[in-house]
Every structure is written in C-alpha cells, then in structure tokens.
C-alpha cells in the first residue's frame, strides 16, 4: 500500500468529458491514453482520487453512451453485460438469479445497496483488485471481456485478464465494451462464499464454487475460483479435470483442497493473517464442495 492522504477533502482538479457515442469515447481514449480515467459508477475511482492514489488529468464519464448500457441474454450464447450496467441492476435481475446463481450471489454481497446503485460490474473487473467479489464468480462461468480501441475489438478470457494487483492486460487506449458470460453447464448450481467480519467489508477470502451433474463423472463439472488469496483473483484450472475421475467424491474433495492450497498465496494484512486465510480456503472449499456435490 502506498502512503495516502486520508484527510484530503477536495478532489484533485481534472477535465470532465461526457461523450455520447462509443466512437467519440474511443477517439478521446486514443488521444488521452493513461491521462484519462474512465468514470462509470465512480465508487473506486472517486475514492482513489480522494485518497490521493490517482490524479487523472481527464475523467471520461461513459454513462451517456446508450450503446454501452446493454444487458441481454440469449439461450445458448449466454449473457452480455455492458460496462454501464450497475451491480444493483444485476442483483434485481431474476434471470441472472436463476441462470447464473454464483454471479448473482457475488454481486449482491458487494458493499451495500447505495454503492451497488452506482458501481458497475465492468468497473469491479477493470479496477482489478485481488478482492473483487465478482471476479471469482465470472471466472467459474469462464467469462470473456471485450476490449475496444480505435484499432478494433478483441475478446480476452477473464482467466487471462488480470496480471497483478490492480493490473490488467488492457492497453492505454482500450476500454471495456462488454462482459460476455457464456451459457452455464446444464443444471449448474453454486454459490459465492464471502468471508467477512461485517457485511460491507472487503472479502477476507472469497470463494466461488460451481457444480453440475455431481453423480455422473463423465458429465460432472466442478469449478472453483478465489478472491483475496493472491495478487490477482485465482481460477484453479486443475480442479475441473480432477473431478472427471470416476473415484469416490470424498477422496476427490480432499485432493481438490490440496491442489487449491498449492495454488494460492495469501498475504497477511490489516484484515486477516495469511494463516487465517489459508485456514478459510481449506475448510470453506471442502464445505462448499461437500454441500454442492451432496456428500455427507
């Protein structure tokens, strides 16, 4: 953590831009690059500016760009979420609750209602905090991020998007234009377990678990992803392969927990120690797997 000016009350000055089309936004971003911060919900950006962590000379408010406010689902191809869609819009969407329960569960556990009315899913991802609650949920659904610049668009799997604490593969001239969440495996259920002291807290550890067809090894899908256990959100690829084996579930759960523990590297900070985080990872992973796989 950098030393911060916690007592700053006036935000640093900046030029405010409010483009009304995507083309206009891309032109601005091409011209201004890293000097321009994107403002969607502002619940991270304005806090960082207040704390002196960020001082962007330009702020681009993307909320007037109608084409970015998309939330649509197509059977088979999945869900498309535009970058100005708020967490509250997702939380109150009955289709999301039914089709993407892990993502819905994670979204409703972020901060509090007043922040969720402003904060966006794309912002949660772009901010690239290791503690981003939506990231593990999006990782178990194998979400893709569409990045667009004046040079065109590219689709990046979220599993390759994060490169470090608050660092992503995004280039200076790129903006997030879509988050695409593919159709989940048939019958998939799951949840996001957020270990916290109080509801509005950041996750001490966040665990997203998705399970489909628990009783049929060939068709079985088990996916796990984590927040607050490493410099980036972590998807544990090996777990899905492991659970294709036709072996007793109890044995597989033990092996899965060991694999997960070898893939995470939590730190000690003001919110929890490394040891406590590892303890949570170990026991909550086993608890969630037993629950979702129907093992006593």
């Amino acid at each position: 953590m950098r030393t911060v000016l916690a007592f700053r009350t006036i935000l640093p000055t900046f030029m405010y831009h409010r483009p009304s089309s995507l083309a206009e936004l891309l032109e601005l971003k091409a011209k201004l690059g890293k000097d321009a911060a994107i403002l969607a919900g502002g619940t991270d950006l304005l806090v960082d500016m207040k704390m002196g962590v960020k001082r962007p000379p330009h702020v681009i408010d993307i909320k007037s760009i109608k084409e970015l406010h998309v939330l649509e689902y197509k059977e088979g191809s999945g869900l498309i979420i535009g970058p100005t869609v708020t967490l509250r819009e997702l939380e109150t969407n009955s289709l999301l609750k039914e089709k993407y329960p892990v993502l819905w569960d994670a979204v409703r556990k972020i901060a509090d209602i007043a922040l969720r009315e402003r904060a966006t899913l794309a912002g949660n991802i772009a901010n690239a905090s290791p503690a981003a609650d939506s990231a593990p949920a999006l990782l178990v659904y194998d979400a893709k991020v569409e990045l667009t610049s004046v040079d065109g668009s590219r689709l990046v799997p979220l599993r390759e998007f994060f490169t470090g604490v608050k660092k992503t593969v995004m280039k200076e001239n790129e903006v997030i234009t879509k988050i695409i969440v593919p159709e989940p495996p048939a019958g998939a259920k799951g949840e996001y377990f957020k270990a916290v002291r109080s509801a509005e807290d950041l996750a001490l550890v966040g665990i997203a678990a998705l399970v489909a067809n628990p009783n049929n090894p060939a068709e079985r899908v088990v996916r796990l992803a984590y927040a607050s256990v490493a410099p980036t959100p972590v998807y544990v690829r090996e777990v899905e392969e492991l659970f294709k084996k036709d072996e007793p579930l109890n044995k597989l759960i033990k092996e899965a927990v060991n694999i997960v523990l070898s893939k995470v590297s939590p730190i000690s900070d003001v919110r929890a120690t490394r040891e406590y985080r590892l303890h949570l990872v170990k026991y909550v992973t086993a608890y969630l797997l037993r629950k979702l796989l129907g093992v006593k």
């Binding site: 935000l11 000055t13 405010y16 806090v47 408010d61 909320k63 509250r88 209602i113 007043a114 009315e117």
Partner: protein
C-alpha cells in the same frame, strides 16, 4: 483548470441551474448551492453513508457522485419529505420510537427508511438490516432505528 459546467438539478421539487467545477461533488452542490444542510460530509469515500440522498428514486451516497454526473437528476433529501409542523410517516415513526441519539446520522437513516417504506413494503427485519448496511450510526443506536422503520411500514399500511 478553471473549467466550469452548468448543470440543472431538481432538488426537493425545486429546479435550479447552477454552475459547478467538475471536481465538486453532488454533496457540495447540495450544501453550498441549495443550502441543504441535512446532507453531511463524513468519510467522503462511500463508507459511512452520512451523505445519503435519493437520486432519481435510488438510494445513493452523494459524496461519490460528481456534480456534473448529477446533471438532470431529481434529488430528494429529508427537507423534501415534510412541511414544517407536518412530519412524514417515517419522521413520525423515528420520533415515536426514539430512532436517533445524537442525531448526526438521522437524515441519512430517514432517507434509507423512506426508501425502504416506499420500495419494500413487505421488508423483513433481515432485509431492513441489509439496506441499513449502507449507513453508519456513530452512537450504534441501530435497534431503535430498525424498530422505527418497522413501525413506519405499519403506519404506511394503516394510512
């Protein structure tokens, strides 16, 4: 940068055009241009909720909304809920159930309570508590606040 922007706001039913700097917050505009002093500056980072207002029907923290972002918005604060001598249902419930101690957080809690009463008439205690996560009471007098909100829901149903 001396850039200024003219925005139009409707606050408690009164529409006004004001000139703002981009780095001013909705909170600053409400206090300094509309003289709404119930909306207070606390942490200024979206944690304490003391600056909570209803913006276009939504519960938001006015410290995390830039003034230019509020252009065209309709804002409701505790001043807009009642006329002098005629408290609203929510305000009456807070008075009768002692839903405040020092009073510092009360305008914010009243706005959260108003939002609940208007939008979640069947809210359970658990749901009320979830919404109240967004505002911190420094005196920790939550019990009476929750009682007041439950009572306000009853009053509203009777009316």
């Amino acid at each position: 940068m001396a850039e200024t922007i003219t925005i139009r706001l409707k606050v408690n039913g009164v529409e006004k055009e004001v000139t703002v700097k981009p780095n001013e917050r909705l909170l600053d505009v409400l206090r300094e241009k509309f003289y709404i002093n119930s909306v207070k500056a606390g942490c200024l980072r979206g944690e304490c909720g003391i600056c909570t207002v209803i913006m276009n029907g939504k519960l938001v923290k006015s410290c995390l909304v830039l003034a230019p972002e509020a252009d065209g918005a309709e804002i409701l604060t505790v001043e807009g809920l009642s006329r002098p001598g005629k408290p609203s249902v929510v305000q009456r419930a807070f008075i009768e159930k002692f839903g405040f101690q020092c009073g510092f957080c009360t305008p914010a809690f009243i706005m959260a309570a108003y939002w609940i009463v208007e939008n979640m008439p069947d809210a359970s205690e658990k749901e009320i508590k979830e919404i109240l996560n967004s505002v911190i009471c420094r005196c920790t007098g939550y019990k009476q606040i929750i009682e007041a909100i439950k009572y306000a829901i009853e009053l509203k149903k009777q009316a």
